[in-house]
Symmetry: C2
Subunit: 357 residues, 2 copies
């Protein structure tokens, strides 16, 4: 089993061949043999900033000696999030040292724990939290146990590996902006990891969803994608196309009449359509958490003055690092527990599970 | 004395001639003779929507019979606010009946008061509040006394006539968005009525100001305008020009380092410059209350996600009508009292005073 399969699959062909040949040429020690672990590990490293498929390579990196408050974690899976690639390119505003190890997410198993470790024990499955910054695309991690959260073993490995960014963002978007049962939220980029998690979590809360999604080139493929969004919980799927607003059917109009919150990950014309769907003078808000179109938002003055729409942004990193109320291990812990419970119940199927190998 | 001078001056030439000939052909009754007032009055009316200078004319309109809760107000002055013209054109989202009387601001004197009137007495100087919707461009008003606020007689007539929109907006902008002593606020359209009031009120509160203003065609004129803004309290005046951001001098950079609130009345490139001046990750906010450029705001995604800037709108009409906390006569009253006190102290010179005839 290729433990770094996510990395290998998501990187471009040349790099993935390099990574695959490196990772398969090494036999991973089993957890039981790792008490006398080596002081080095394999990792997907970059020595300079640039396109991930050009600068990444599998190398051996040193591990710090284990202190009494440290755990040694054997990684089980680590995904590639677009932001991981942007960080390697130097285009994402998160400080990461160069040379460095790629990756910010993943799941691992504790194979050794110092005497002073609180929370994590040998055999626990753990995910790194935002305090851990040394890269997850590696076989082993040695770091302070506070940098990890323990996750139930009955969460599938691939879901656990992608738990800490997309589903957490989806949960926060629904919780922090006052979306209520019976109301409608509007989302775009509905097929994204956050989008699909948001649709599924909204359904569990009785929150209706208008899901905007770009049509595919092939009509049949478009219908399949739209149908998959409805299966994830979208009450209505709107084709997200530039130009004049679509004629809305009665059901969509009725849903839009209770739309006070929109979650924007696209920008450009897509955000303009969302602004038109939001109810005026209802304290409506559009929260931007992504900008996939790379186009800025174009907002007519009247949306602010006469429609009383507020525009703001959400960044999970900020929530974790700066929100005084929530930035306790308890707040983060409660969020992870809720998402794990949704996954165990089957209400939330994390996107990555579709790519299980 | 032309009592409707503001109206006459601000309208285009043809209409102003019409208005002037109408208003000067009528001798206004003095307050003492008005107890047996006529049941009609002169007014600047429009029978259809359209450009103000085409559709406005001086006509005689009926007055309702005075009830016990009514006052009869003899108007002393009524200004032309751009929004008055937009309302006549039908381009402003305030419901006003057609045919109707123009104008939403002004100051008058109570010449008769019903037995059940509370607050207003004969001889009081009053300004209409937002509950009064029948137009101020007229000689007399008969309406419920609750539709008026009493203003001290030592506030100059021309200042009193323009009290209820621009200075109130300026005060609310400073009060409601947490601008604090020692911090900097950024404004554009600095020579506008709101802009000049905001500069002067900010100065009384120890709030620093970066005032953005379009350069005039003539360099000497530009310097005179900029100097007048500095005289009104602007700590720095920035030429508001399209294109790359200006090189900021040390003083402006230092002021901008404490800028968390911007007040936008222009949109377009001006709003973009403001976004760049606001401090990132400081909970900064840009409040849009006007759109003089008629250009939408162009907001890069990163301003929301990575800089945590919130964009919202302010509309005094909404504050007066819908804000449950503030929409008491007490909240409005306190606001008027504060502005009158600033005018009496000389700290606030209301723009209209410059056009006194």
């Amino acid at each position: 089993r290729a433990r770094m399969a996510f990395v290998a699959r998501a990187l471009s062909r040349g790099a993935s061949r390099r990574l695959a040949s490196s990772s398969t040429s090494t036999t991973a020690p089993t957890p039981s043999s790792s008490r006398r672990a080596s002081s080095v590990t394999e990792a997907a490293t970059y020595a300079t900033r640039g396109p991930a498929h050009e600068v990444l390579e599998m190398t051996t990196v040193p591990l710090p000696p284990m202190g009494p408050g440290d755990v040694r974690v054997r990684m089980l899976a680590a995904p590639v999030n677009p932001s991981d690639v942007n960080i390697i390119e130097g285009k994402y505003p998160l400080p990461r040292a160069v040379p460095g190890v790629g990756g910010n997410e993943g799941v691992g198993e504790v194979v050794a724990a110092g005497a002073a470790c609180v929370g994590a024990r040998v055999g626990d499955r753990v995910v790194p939290n935002r305090s851990y910054v040394d890269g997850t695309w590696r076989r082993d991690i040695v770091s302070a146990c506070e940098n990890f959260d323990v996750i139930d073993r009955d969460v599938p490995v691939h879901a656990a590996a992608t738990l800490t960014v997309n589903p957490c963002t989806a949960l926060r978007l629904l919780e922090d902006y006052d979306a209520r049962e019976g109301e409608t939220v509007v989302i775009n980029a509905a097929t994204s990891g956050v989008g699909r998690a948001l649709l599924q979590i909204a359904r569990t809360r009785g929150i209706r969803t208008i899901a905007m999604c770009r049509p595919r080139e092939d009509a049949r493929e478009t219908e399949e994608v739209f149908e998959s969004l409805r299966a994830d919980g979208a009450d209505v799927v709107l084709p997200d196309v530039e130009g004049k607003i679509l004629r809305l059917d009665a059901r969509t109009r009725e849903l839009a009449s209770r739309a006070r919150v929109a979650y924007n990950a696209v920008g450009g014309y897509s955000a303009q359509t969302m602004l038109r769907l939001l109810q005026p003078n209802a304290g409506s808000r559009m929260v931007t958490y992504g900008g996939m179109s790379k186009q800025p938002l174009l907002v007519p003055t009247g949306a602010f003055i006469f429609k009383d729409i507020t525009l703001s942004g959400f960044w999970l990193t900020r929530w974790l690092e700066h929100d005084a109320t929530h930035n306790s291990s308890r707040g983060r812990r409660a969020m992870l527990d809720e998402i794990c419970a949704l996954i165990r119940s089957g209400a939330l199927v994390v996107d990555a599970a579709r790519f299980r190998d």
